[in-house]
Amino acid sequence: MDRKKFQATLRRAFWVPFGIALVLAATLILEVRFLMERAAWVEHTGQVIAVAQRIYRNRVDQETGLRAYVLTGDTRFLEPFYEGRRQASALEPQLRQLVADNPEQTARNEDSFRAFAAWSSWADEAIALTKGGEDAGNMKFQLRGKGLMDEYRRTRTAFIEREQQLREERVARSRRALELLNATIVALSILFALGFAVLGRKQLLSLSRSFNEALNNSEANAAEARSQRDWLHTTLTGIGDAVIATDAGGLITLMNPVAEKLTGWTLKEAQGKPLSEVFRIVNQETHQSVENPVDKVRRLNRAVGLANHTILVNKSGQEVAIDDSGAPIFGPNGALTGIVLVFRDVTEQRRTQKAIAQLAAIVEFSGDAIITKNLDGILQTWNAGAERLFGYKAGEIIGKPVTVLIPPDRLNEETEILQRIRQGRPSERLETVRLAKDGTPIRVSVGVSPIKDVEGRVIGASKVIHDITELAASRAELLREKELVATTLTSIGDAVIATDAEGRITFLNAEAERLTAWKTSDATGRPLPEVFRIINEETRQIVDNPVDKALRLGTVVGLANHTVLLTKDGREIPIDDSAAPIRVPGGQLFGVVLVFRDFTARKQAMTQLAQSQKTLFDLVERAPFGIYIVDSQFCISVMNSASQTGAFRNVKPVIGRDFGEAMRILWPTDVAREIIAVFRHTLETGEPYYSPRFTNPRHDIGAVESYEWELHRIRLADGQYGVICYYFDSTKLRQAEQGARDAQERLSGLINSAMDAVISVDPRQQIVMFNPAAEKMFGCAASEALGNSLDRFIPARFREVHRQHIEHFGQTGVTNRTMFRPGTLWGQRHNGEEFPIEATISQVETGGQKLFTVILRDITERKEAESKLAEQANLLELTSDAIIVRDEAGRIAYWNKGAEDLYGWAREEAIGKSTRDLLQTTFPQPLEEIIDRVRKEKHWQGELLHTRKGGELVTVLSRWALVEHEKVAGVPSSLMEINTDISRRKQLEAALQSNERLALAGRLSASIAHEIHNPLDTVGNVLFLLSQRVGKEPGARQLIGVAQKEVQRVTEISKNMLSLHRESRSASPVKISELLEGVVALIEETIAKGSREIHLLLGFEGEVEAFPSELRQVFTNVIKNAVEATAEGGEIKIFSEAARESGRNGVLVRVVDDGVGISEEMQSRLFSPFVSSKEESGTGLGLWVSHSIVEKHGGTIRISSSSDPEDCGTTVSIFLPLEATPRKKVVGATPAA
């Protein structure tokens, strides 16, 4: 080619398109760089996923290793744990760096690190616990670990899933970029093809080549991504999970060996088959087909997880639980090319989960307080155990400083703990005191472990706090167990020899000593074969020593049969059935325990065993307390007869019955529910249970019963757990206790509330008891009296006598008696006052010491009462009533002075006689009725007619009362009869009645008199007229004169009578002289004329304000009395004169007679009713009535008398004031007018 021409052509062909190409190339380069960048991102994402998954796998290995270690205690398992930790920890910074450019993923990643750090610190704790020989396998603890690990899985999976999603996005973006690039290439290729045609192929080819190189570069990146995928493939197949890969059509292309094993298909068989045929999955519960993940992935076009509770049905129809599976899609170059299924056999895991879930609830019932805090001591978490122990709810305490739990004097502990924690060291288990919410101190044991983050920085601490009171109890339990073991070993029928790891003897029990003839002291430290020499029975060959064998093999070995033990003293003893269990605590060979048995004794032993079993059975069967066993099915499987006939007597049949059902028969629902819960708890956790006081009403019989019981979990013959319950019916015991308490309380209550003083003294007469009544009686507080001598309460003069008395009493041994005669004993109050007491003394010997108890009664009041009684008895004698007491037979037992007076019978005459005979009683009703009434109503009242000694009748008001003596044995009730003489009252009643009749007669006569006056007036007038008419005829005139005189006389009498009975409504002026004249005139009519002289010497002519008729009655009475007292021919003088008394003017009327006079005794009683000096002739009412009338007028009436024969006579003086002051309206007749 012409160079110039070519150059020209090139220049022409080159520079023109070159300019265009340059622009396009620049664009292309930019695009390619963009594409490369994209590819780098995809690669980066793949790397992130790979690293994250490696970390994840290592962490899972850690968990597996730890779990195995906790379960087995085998430290070999810790290897994967530590290896996993080492590898993962190495990868973590790398991952952190990788995701540093993505804040979202960084956050996820950190979450994941944190979650693992939490688990990791738990794991450290678990290792520490296991190393320390404690059980880290307990459910609660394990559950916590699982929870932490689950959290880690979740966060890590989230991280990976997101990263995978990112990768998908980035791949898609790369693809789009690639397409753009391709389009650009096509466009450019056309341009270059044109340019090539124009400019020559060589240069263009070279250009094209160099461009292709650039293109190849981008393909290399894609290949890198593919290799990454392959790596992932490898990873997936290597992790122990089953992996199945399919193509885009869902036909299987790959299965790893695990998948082969789980599905039962070999890769060969499965290849090319649809996934659904090989990977048949159903729901665990419903057994319904679950949507095949391939279909799902296709439908959703994204990664999907399998549904939970999925079961894979393998080729041979067996079911395998699978879990944690994923179905990621792979779409290189944009298309869905296939699916990879990853799944795992979780049968075991599910089983564990199920068990964990079941036990989780139970774990809640117990457990330590577990709390976490940060480095500032602020609480971060707070579990249910902590809530229980401290009483704070999680919500109220989280965020508060831990110091609220620490007593102020122990705050330095926290400082020390925090210091250790900051250094990353777990704190020693610390026994200390913490405060509950209510401030009560709790003895606790605290373990603190640091919490570290992923980078190993300490960020806080977790505390496990254990209530030490329980711990102490369990320690004691442990000790007891050890003791028990030791005792068992020494007393067991089998010979036991223990050796250390070198096979040197450390222990021989009694049987071993006996069989080997070695003493422990001699044998200790010797190699076993020296002491335990065994040969074959037949061959006489030395048998391989079991200890050597055990030490060599590290396993349990049985002894060969037909072995003979050569004893120290040369005897041969066949031994049999012996075993040599090896103890390997923590995997370390610790020593050997050899158990063997004298074969010759075996038969005997078996018999003994049978016997002892029988004994044991009898023991259980005849135990006075109840024993029964509830099996794993919660049925009562064994029960002794005490229980069957006791608490469970109403449950028939009882053996085999559901325990819950039995409880509900015996107890109310809520009680039964509690009991069942306790049984379940023991059954599930193995914690023994000791009932507190259990007192409840029975559901079946209603009575309240008390029980004390305890529960232990035991393994039953079927290998399952059961619960054995021992119980004791303490109902009677409780009742007895209660009874004793009640009695005690009653007694002390009695003493404290006793009215009597109760004082106890010791033999030195020091007071040891002083009750409130004693305090009151002696006016001395118990605190003052106690410990002091009794002397201060005894008047000085009696002290010595009293002391001797007590001493003497102490020697008699009599337990109880009254001291002295009542009334001779005196007490002395605190203030020195003496008072009579009555005392009873008793002695009791307690604890070898004699105690004297004196019961004292202050009888001051009683003495007073007694004297009062005596007074009253005297009164009985003084009363005018007849008081008679009759015994049940009706004989008179008591006859007072009143009775003597009334009936005239002296006491001596009356006592012992029957009242009925003595007094010839006339009853108003049959005596039987009266007696009956007295019996029923205790009393009777009525009028009786009795006969006096002299034969006169006397009417009495008789009151009978049944006297019931206060239930003194042998004293029958008696009848008291109080008789009041009512003869006089009867007379009074009669007098009043006659008075009333008189008044009535008066009123009648007044009206009659009025009716008479009118005709009398007329008759008088007629006679007057007649006397005029008859003129001077002397006979007639004389006769008319007689008639007139007689009429006049009738009128006068009538007027007198009328004036005697007329009554006034009000007082009126009365001329005393006229009134006296009228009265005297009337009296003179009644007495024989001239037999007695009545002289009126009236010096007062005035009037007084008075009721004339009443005054007339007074003067009539007084003057009549005077007339009657005066002997025939005697003289009565009536004076009236003005007088002044008590500052009032009035008239004094004196009636003076010279009669017999009145005795002085009689004078004092003259104005009482029924008193008469006139023997039987008077009513005894005259002066009584007069006295009251005069008093009514405001006047006075006095009597002075002398019965001296020389100067006898009586003067009655009546003073009436001029102006009466009547106190009441006059009762009686009103004027008929």
Binding site: A1009, H1010, E1011, I1012, H1013, N1014, P1015, L1016, D1017, T1018, G1020, N1021, V1022, F1024, L1025, Q1028, Q1044, V1047, Q1048, V1050, T1051, S1054, K1055, L1058, S1059, R1062, S1064, S1068, P1108, P1231, A1233
Partner: protein, 133 residues
């Protein structure tokens, strides 16, 4: 016993018809002119209508009693003396102040006549003195 015409006019009031007629006879025998009435209202009518010199009045009468009659009479002609003649011994004091003389029945007719004569002469003296003045 003076002349009939000079004796004067007397009004006798009493519910006892027999006693009244005998009393009238006794008074007429002594020369008095006598009006009688058996009840208060009639008596008052006569007392206003006739030139009565003196009244002999019973106390206990059905309807209007003697004290009421006396009071009205005194209101009508204060100067006419009234003799209260009753079977009762103690009449209320107020009643007694209304009348010029009180006498119980059954006292002799002579006593009544003397009392009338005395009251009339006293009245006569009073009227004479009045007329002289």
């Amino acid at each position: 016993m003076g002349k009939v015409n000079s004796a004067g006019v007397v009004l006798c009031v009493d519910d006892e018809a027999v006693g009244l007629s005998v009393r009238k006879a006794v008074l007429e025998s002594q020369g008095y002119r006598v009006f009688t009435s058996e009840n208060g209202p009639d008596a008052l009518a006569l007392f206003s209508a006739e030139p009565i010199d003196l009244v002999v009045l019973d106390y206990m009468m059905p309807g209007m009693k003697g004290d009421v009659v006396a009071e009205k009479m005194k209101q009508l002609k204060h100067s006419v003396p009234i003799v209260m003649l009753s079977a009762y011994l103690d009449l209320p004091a107020e009643t007694l102040t209304l009348v010029d003389k009180y006498m119980t029945k059954g006292e002799s007719p002579t006593a009544l006549l003397e009392a009338i004569a005395e009251l009339l002469s006293a009245k006569h003296r009073r009227s004479k003195a009045t007329s002289v003045e």
